[in-house]
Symmetry: C3
Subunit: 309 residues, 3 copies
């Protein structure tokens, strides 16, 4: 049993074994029912489509039963705390809880009180470990290696995705650049090789351009002229020319078409966005197996030796 | 693989094979698990109970796993388009999407971008093909033939059900009459043998009276006196006397008791309303099998030779 | 087939057989799939987390498929009555309906029109039979007998739990005390041995203290000073000293921390609250089996001979 609430909880080797298992499951014609007779509860205290569906799809594939706590119709309306709700769910003899919270740190806090594995599906602006794992899986699937240069572009200050992905890449020898308007990027950040407001500087020599979702309202708070933002930071055909020909485009979704990414590039041949979605299902299968102890990963000796079968 | 978004997409022979398969499944003691290890997503962008439950029931029976996209808690709140939501769902390696939309034509439009089958569970005032298929199944089950006279009564202008059912009956040799207040009926309509404001004229010589749901507010827009409407168009004991003794009553549900149908007739011996609901499950099983290619229908040579085993 | 809408519907012997089966299922390493290929619908017309999840968990364990009617997105928005919704669900060839309603007596009323078993998951302030069954199971599990003294403390007038539990205990030889502020307790009540406003009198000689959920607003209607209520009726470390050392604390949940129960006692060693939740799953399995006739209970000759295997 293992809580997965934070990329910090996983060693580089553990991340590798999840990537390896995810890609193995993706290639399997028939997915093994390693979670047969297990019960997985999804408890999303913040709205989500893709992440919840992805976890449900993953758990069902492995043979688990999935029960969704729809928090809007819940006991919490009656004044129960979220932790008490989770303790109650645990007492129903379920095997894992997948949780999304509005508040930073809640999954970590809750996990201290729970004997069954807690999987963090995103907490506020803090962490989104399974997103990082599917991103890493997608990058490895494309490049066959981890020592990649990745530019994360957009509203980094509000992004749990940026945080988790940077931590994961750091463990695997990747190098991260942050890029965005001054108001959207931190002054400094551990494990980031460059923080810049200049898109050209950020992406001219990278393997991956990772665009973040940006709410239009947030842009309008900063810019008088939203066109200025688009010109400087939107990932579109014109700005993509600054990047190496081989660089791929990724995005955690859901995206705002023609805000942070243009219509023309979203599903272009350089985009790996739908691969990310697909790999999300298989990465989450591997995470569910790891958290519940349903599958014993082979130990992987070193990153260098890592080869996907 | 076949999208089923429009009755026009199906030949008369295909409709027959769905009816045949539905009635075969209904009689089976154990339903075959033709959708084992398949994933069906229900994406209802407009509220629905009966249609969604019916599809879920149908898919589960065939062994499929069902995942529901609850659109109110979805990424769309974050600005994602419905098409992008569907492309994301498709990327999660699911096998069929059942979709209801507010806007006419959306399922047809979306289906052009999707490689997995799209099944239309109703789009605005346009089409509701599985409703027509379950209606046809119910009529055939009762009469053992398709060349029936059917009067559709009520607010036809706003009814996707009327549209789909008329198309389906036309393909099978049935004959359709439209009846309702002038404001609720079209001036002309393809494949309709009579359009009339006179209920007596409409139903005096039919096999099926098909009442449509009418919102009270809509009646009040047209009539000063709602009693006038009830007298002229409500299907009740008194008005039913104008119809032949053998004629049956159908309604797509949900009905407004004592608006378009009276309490006394809703569950009377002439009513096939609950049979429609039951056949809905089996018709949708047949539709899911057809859409996913899970079951190869025997070819049916002609309508004349069609016999349910 | 048997509706379970009211504790009155069950004999003492039937209650015992449910308790027996629940504890047997709890100890089973592998739960038998007695509801394989059955369909259970949860129709909660009032919000609930724990009860709905508990039923879903129970039904899934037994091999049933579960379909949830989310009433906020339902046909009822279109004017359909709840009974018509249920008749429609029944027509979809499902095997049991679990229902919660706002109005007292609705499940009993609806069950008269339905051929499939109706299980009441709580109706207004009237009955909550499966809560009483899980409570009885928890008491028996702890004490190995039924002739227990139970003090129910709090807002009894608004509690369906108090009503059902009192009826159930009366059938099994238990003895019930009601305690709370005058405004919260009835003047008289069948099968209750003592009704008192004095907590000390109520709990000084009991086996079980059963605290009810109380909405703070309701307390504030009655008391100028909420501290007065806490001093007199809150179950906390200090007030618990009035009870015998062996007495256990129970609560139907969800609880309001530091309103009717204090933080310090909620999960203390005397609390059986999480056992209640766990037993809820197994009691509801037994109820589902009983309602659908999926399992033939051995007949139990008398309460005295009753021994859990």
């Amino acid at each position: 049993m293992k809580h997965i609430v934070d990329i910090k909880d996983l060693s580089g080797t553990e991340i590798l074994s999840i990537v390896k298992r995810a890609l193995y499951l993706k290639k399997s014609r028939v997915v093994p029912r390693t979670l047969d007779r297990k019960y997985v509860v999804t408890a999303f205290f913040e709205p989500s489509t893709r992440t919840k569906l992805s976890f449900q799809r993953a758990a069902l594939s492995l043979g688990a039963k999935v029960i969704d706590l729809a928090p809007d119709t819940s006991s919490m309306l009656k004044g129960e705390t979220e932790l008490d709700t989770l303790l109650t769910i645990e007492a129903m003899d379920v095997d894992a809880i997948v949780i999304r919270t509005r508040r930073n740190g809640d999954p970590a806090k809750f996990s201290k009180h729970l004997q069954i594995p807690v999987i963090n599906a995103g907490d506020g602006t803090n962490e989104h470990p399974t997103q990082a794992l599917l991103d890493i899986t997608t990058m490895y699937e494309h490049y066959g290696k981890f020592n990649l240069r990745v530019a994360i572009v957009g509203d980094i200050n509000h992004s749990r995705v940026a945080r988790s992905l940077t931590e994961a890449l750091a463990k695997l020898g990747g190098s991260v650049i942050f890029c965005g308007p001054e108001e959207f990027i931190p002054k400094s950040f551990p494990d980031v090789s460059l923080i810049t407001t200049d898109l050209q500087e950020a992406i001219s020599n990278v393997d991956v351009i990772y665009a973040l979702r940006i709410q239009k309202e947030r842009i309008e708070e900063v810019y008088d002229n939203i066109e200025e933002f688009f010109k400087n930071y939107q990932i579109n055909e014109s700005n993509l020319e600054m990047a190496p020909k081989h660089a791929i485009l990724m995005h955690p979704g859901p995206f705002n078409r023609n805000v942070e990414v243009s219509d023309g590039v979203v599903y272009s041949s350089r985009s790996r966005i739908l691969d990310q979605v697909r790999n999300g299902v298989y990465s989450r299968m591997a995470v569910l197996e790891k958290a519940t102890g349903a599958y014993e990963y082979e130990s992987i000796q070193s990153i260098e030796k890592f080869v996907v079968i």
